[in-house]
Symmetry: C2
Subunit: 207 residues, 2 copies
């Protein structure tokens, strides 16, 4: 890749540090930056530095916050602080927030249990979650870890940990995505959709 | 997209200014930057500013140069300065440089003629190319504009302009890409490949 002059090569290498960006894409991006005006390039550079400078961890939910004292959700009087939705990553909070109906709070674990990667409960904010429950006022925990083996293990682990507290624990339903075609669903998803099937009205056997 | 906190939202918007980067990709990139260390983020930001600060236009070929006085190719005694390869964009120089066999120099037009977009010969470095030829010492011009209508027009225009000088003018061959299957070549490419066919040895009719 020595065919680029040094300043461009340097920027290409920086872009390549982003997961999923290969050599060709990085070169395309570097040339796009070259086409920006000087003030636009400064603004871009400042936004990169700014994201490291101005983004903090919320000391309550461990999600991202522009305020060191607590994120907008944890400090909002409009949210239901008796409900905690537990997610793996800070990004998941934003994904869940798209579900406009949810008015509870969050707890960001910072990953999922993974013995193979040496990620144990000590690397996650599990203790901090239990502390929140212990303090009282929490009525429900909705576990929204990913539908993966790691996410499953983490969900089961958390469910067991908070068993002794008077708190309802649930996990997001597995199933066929809305709008998707059954034909394209994989077998495991279909199996989970069967297991989690919901009965209509009167004739439920366990009623 | 108000679900992201401001510093992240700002960076997402900067990434979105890159052509081809949509909202989801930009968000993914912004979070990747968030995962960089502070010093890595600074290096990234500096590379962006640096590309604007340290990249100059070569005053001879109008390609990109890290030196204001001339690019590595134009100032190299190892290159054949009697051959000029004419390309549309500075990026094309790097593409052509991958052809390790080429030892001549370049001339970057800065685009292609396009009356519909109001791009005339005055927007391109056509005059500067003719000046180089006029100065003497140039024996051959290889036109490597893109195989598009705009590139064709530009190539024909340049060929006519330098007609009066004692210089050989050629254009890159059109044809089937090496390693490609004829089955997948479009008709225009096939037609051009037919027109540009090369004869083997003895039985050439025009010999």
């Amino acid at each position: 890749m020595a065919e680029y002059i040094l300043p461009i090569q340097r920027l290409i290498e920086e872009f390549r540090k982003i997961p999923g960006v290969g050599a060709k894409t990085a070169a395309r991006y570097a040339f796009a930056v070259l086409n920006l005006s000087e003030s636009e390039a400064f603004r871009f550079a400042d936004a990169i530095v700014g994201v490291k400078r101005d983004v903090h961890k919320c000391p309550i939910c461990y999600g991202l916050s522009s305020d060191e004292d607590g994120c907008d959700i944890c400090t909002s009087p409009d949210r239901d602080h008796s409900v905690i939705c537990v997610v793996e990553d800070a990004k998941d909070v934003m994904t869940m927030e798209k579900v406009r109906g949810y008015r509870g709070t969050y707890h960001v674990l910072g990953g999922a249990l993974s013995p193979l990667d040496n990620i144990t409960h000590e690397d996650l904010t599990v203790k901090e979650l239990v502390d929140r429950v212990e303090k009282g006022g929490v009525k429900e925990i909705i576990i929204a870890t990913n539908p993966t083996p790691k996410g499953d293990t983490t969900a089961a682990y958390i469910a067991r940990l908070v068993e002794k507290y008077p708190v309802e624990v649930s996990r997001l339903a597995y199933g066929i995505p809305v709008g998707a075609d059954i034909e394209y669903a994989d077998e495991i998803t279909l199996l989970r959709a069967m297991e989690g099937r919901r009965f209509y009205g009167n004739n439920r056997s366990d009623k």
